[in-house]
């Protein structure tokens, strides 16, 4: 057996890559954590226990009109400061500690959840929409409290649960067996060049957007600077959060149709654009010019979600895997096909995504939004 003397470089350690898994019921029917947790745990060796998380949609139907903030406090003084800011800018309907139980997780911070409603007077004063008002406040708090507190979930009727541990341990810690959602996005992390801390676990969230990511964005610096000009501040010490903000900017604020988003994030090569019919060439050239700072370079596969939609996307030359599958009313995305099969052995359709290609699962009737 390996021991300290004959194993100075941890030869027995599995080397991995992150694991992604997502599952959506296209009728919007809610289901428990059993299948998603089983599936992501089947890819245990893709992670290393330094970060896991879940984004679950449709979990707070009783408070669906309110923004649900999940906040981690790395410092007790920070709680008083953040709550003061929240009360100045929101009507806080309910505040409570997020239920947790004993589990094999590493050094958990204090985590609270708040159901809030923006103060209309303040919103009018600043002439902002509800969503923009929330984004502004989340950004402000996360920047001011950097290293002390973090709002890591800020959508309506959804929530992110994440931390440092393996997926099944994080699921146990947050008592996920007590929640039901119509869409689950799961991540098992193998951090490579940024720290493994509670805020750095995936999925990343803003409003109801959630992004889980395998790989790295070598274009992070460019993307971050571009997004900063639209008011997005990166506070989570990792490249993935720029994807969250990019989707929010393109789809929610600029109202770019979803099918055009990959033409911005993972556009065709110039030599391919050159061969296209004129109108298409003009469109793609224009998009690449306007949003040049949002081109995502480097190896990645991602799952992006918001209410009613689960989107998979792979980098242009496909340096990370992503498999999509369908069965009845369920649509799946996963780093490995086996993780889908382990919860659903027979599938109607299963395919591996191509570079720069998206696969989208949508709820037919947007009942929960």
């Amino acid at each position: 057996m390996w021991n300290g003397a004959n194993n100075p470089y941890e030869y027995d350690k599995d080397t991995g890559a992150c694991a992604l898994f997502g599952m959506i019921n296209v009728e919007g029917k809610r289901f428990p954590s059993k299948d998603p947790v089983r599936a992501i745990s089947n890819m245990r060796e893709r992670g290393n226990g330094l970060g896991s998380g879940f984004a679950v949609y449709g979990i707070y139907p009783d408070y669906r009109e309110l923004y649900a903030f999940h906040v981690m406090y790395l410092n007790h003084q920070a709680k008083r400061d953040v709550e003061k800011v929240l009360e100045e800018n929101f009507r806080v309907v309910l505040s409570e500690e997020l239920p947790t139980k004993e589990a094999k997780v590493w050094n958990p911070p204090l985590i609270w959840r708040y159901f809030v409603e923006p103060l209309t007077s303040k919103m009018r004063e600043k002439n902002l929409t509800e969503d923009d008002y929330v984004v502004k406040n989340v950004m402000r708090i996360n920047t001011a409290e950097s290293g002390r507190a973090l709002i890591f979930s800020s959508g309506k009727n959804m929530g992110v649960f994440k931390g440092v541990g393996y997926p099944e341990e994080i699921a146990e810690y947050f008592c996920l067996e007590e929640y039901e959602g119509y869409m689950w996005i799961c991540h098992n992390r193998y951090p490579t060049n940024t720290p493994g801390w509670w805020g750095g676990a995936h999925p990343f969230n803003l409003l109801d957007w959630a992004v889980a990511h395998n790989g790295e964005l070598s274009s992070y610096g460019t993307n971050r600077r571009f997004l900063a000009t639209y008011g997005y501040e990166c506070t989570m010490q990792t490249d993935t959060e720029v994807l969250t903000y990019a989707f929010d900017l393109l789809v929610r604020r600029h109202e770019i149709p979803l099918e055009l988003v990959p033409k911005i994030l993972t556009p065709p090569f110039w030599n391919e654009i050159d061969c296209m019919p004129q109108r298409q060439r003009q469109l793609l050239t224009t998009l690449r010019q306007i949003y040049s700072g949002l081109l995502m370079n480097g190896p990645f596969s991602i799952i992006v979600a918001r209410h009613g939609q689960m989107i998979g996307l792979v980098d242009r030359i496909k340096l990370r895997p992503l498999t999509a599958a369908m069965k009845g009313n369920f649509f799946y995305l996963s780093s490995e096909e086996a993780a889908i099969r382990v919860v659903q052995p027979t599938l109607d359709k299963v395919w591996n995504l191509h570079g720069g290609e998206i696969a989208v699962g949508m709820v037919k009737v947007p009942v929960l939004v």
Partner: protein
Amino acid sequence: MVDLPKTLKEFSRLKIENNVVNINSMEMHYHELNTLIRDLVRKGFKEFNLYNVYGQRYIGAGLGDNITFRLYGTPGNDLGIFMNGPNIYVYGNVEDGCGNTMNDGLIVVYGHAGDIVGYSMRGGKIFIRDDVGYRAGIHMKGYQTTPVLVIGGCAGDFLGEYMAGGIILLLGLSGNGQHETRFMGAGMHGGVIYVRGKPTHLWNGAKTMDVDENDLQVIHGLLKQFCTLFNFDFSKMVKEEFVKIVPASHRPYGKLYT
């Protein structure tokens, strides 16, 4: 009947009949599964049926001899890695890195394969009935043996990237005869890729040539094997047109990322 090693008693889902090993791999971690297989191979067993395979990695890793595996399910990454002779039949799809650096043996997949199938393969044969992902046959080499990768369906981009030796046969039976593979043969500096129909997008490193008598002999030999394995009509397939892709220079990759 061979005496079972002690550790086997722990696995209630193991059944050995007429020297054929049957394993129900459900909920079994790959460490456990591969340790079990290796123990049994050491005891002299040569035939394995693995049921409920769900993502277990490295099955068949480094094993030699004429062992036969029949896998039911979806084996995990690096199936048959460093393998030196066994035959693996997969009744399902395989994930990434199938046949990674294998030296000898046979892998037959009754389904599709993920990325980098045949990665750095040095010998033996792989037959995939349906599509393969990106970079199939990347870095294949042929020093004293000739590795062979046969793909029944279509291939993702960068087929035969950095290829240094061996043979790839791409049939494209799942497509419309037009291959959408981009950057085919990128960085190729040895070996040959045979393609049914027309390749659309070669990269600088590779060039297309007509097939000659010797090529046709190789292609027809592999086609025959493919048709027998997957139940296709050889008499029809043999009439198809093929081209071959070979390296154009010795330093083909100089400009892709510049």
